[in-house]
């Protein structure tokens, strides 16, 4: 496993289960890791809670590892369109463009804003054993 950002050791080829020491996880910012499978995972440590998500924005596919994180709201914004997600449970929180382009958001033949899907960050399964967070192999793909 290779840590891409977030400060800490760089670990290669962790074997059957990728894992990272809990103590290595920085608080209140995304910890971005590339697992041995090649998948990228964003790990958050906020208060006593740890959550992990894939790096692909469910809206258009933006790289959430490059997103901007708000400690105050516990949300992560996609760098492509600004869509904001809660890092506690991955739910979609806000599309800021709905305010800035309200004038144009009128339903038409091919635009149906009422059909907005329930975007959600894809959780990456993990377990805490001992002092390490272990990511389950393959299923995070």
């Amino acid at each position: 496993m290779t840590q891409r950002s977030g400060g800490g050791a760089v670990e290669e080829g962790a074997g059957e289960h990728d894992s990272v020491p809990v103590a290595e996880l920085a608080e209140n910012r995304p910890n971005v890791y590339v697992l041995s499978s090649g998948a990228k995972v964003l790990v958050f440590r906020r208060g006593g809670q740890i959550t992990a998500f894939g790096d692909v924005c469910p809206h258009m596919g933006g790289d959430l590892g490059e997103g901007s994180y708000s400690c105050e709201t516990g949300t992560l914004a996609c760098p492509w369109h600004g869509y904001r997600f809660c890092i506690d449970d991955g739910r979609f929180v806000e599309n800021p463009n709905e305010r800035s382009m309200a004038l144009l958001r009128v339903p038409s033949k091919h635009y149906r804003p009422d059909r907005q899907p329930s975007y959600r960050l894809r959780p990456v399964p993990f377990a805490i054993r001992g002092e390490r967070v272990h990511f389950e192999p393959e299923r995070h793909r």
Binding site: N97, L103, L104, S108, R115, Q116
Partner: protein, 188 residues
Amino acid sequence: MKHRFSLIYEIDTTVACAVAAYLDAEHYAYLHEKYSPRYEVLSREGYRLEVEQTWRYAGWTLAQTYTAEYQPPARFLQYDIRPSPWWIPSIHHVVRTRTDLRYYATPEGEKTISHLEVELDMPVWLWPVRHVLERKLSGLKMEKDQEDMEMIRRRAALFGRGNIKSYLADHQFLLHKDAFVEHFGRDA
């Protein structure tokens, strides 16, 4: 005095994908935040939008309004560029800028030509720096296109080359979406 120049290059995507990315206005103030942190449509008349947009340049953040016109299927004009508010110092008080961007397929049909024509109407005392202005505008256009291409390449790696299904989804907002879908179809 009018100084005209062209900026023509090939981009590695389909015309439908290039146009969809252009009409996807929700990304302007985020993907291109480094250059332009705010984009707001003030009014609309058919395919013409009056837009207010802020630009970052040399440590300054300045706003301007302009008319953005879409000529389906793949042509985009910008003109009537004015500083906002009107009284702030700006080059747009003395230089009238008009841009005409067209996307069309390469002869093999697999890639897209980005063809930008720019016209700068300037007073004679600015004529000596016309090539400086040309370089600045060209550089900005290419840097922004590079950001768009990074987005297009990542999407191609995730979803397949030229895949614009997420742009076509019912709920997805695009500028002039009905015209885009009428021209490129739902299977684009």
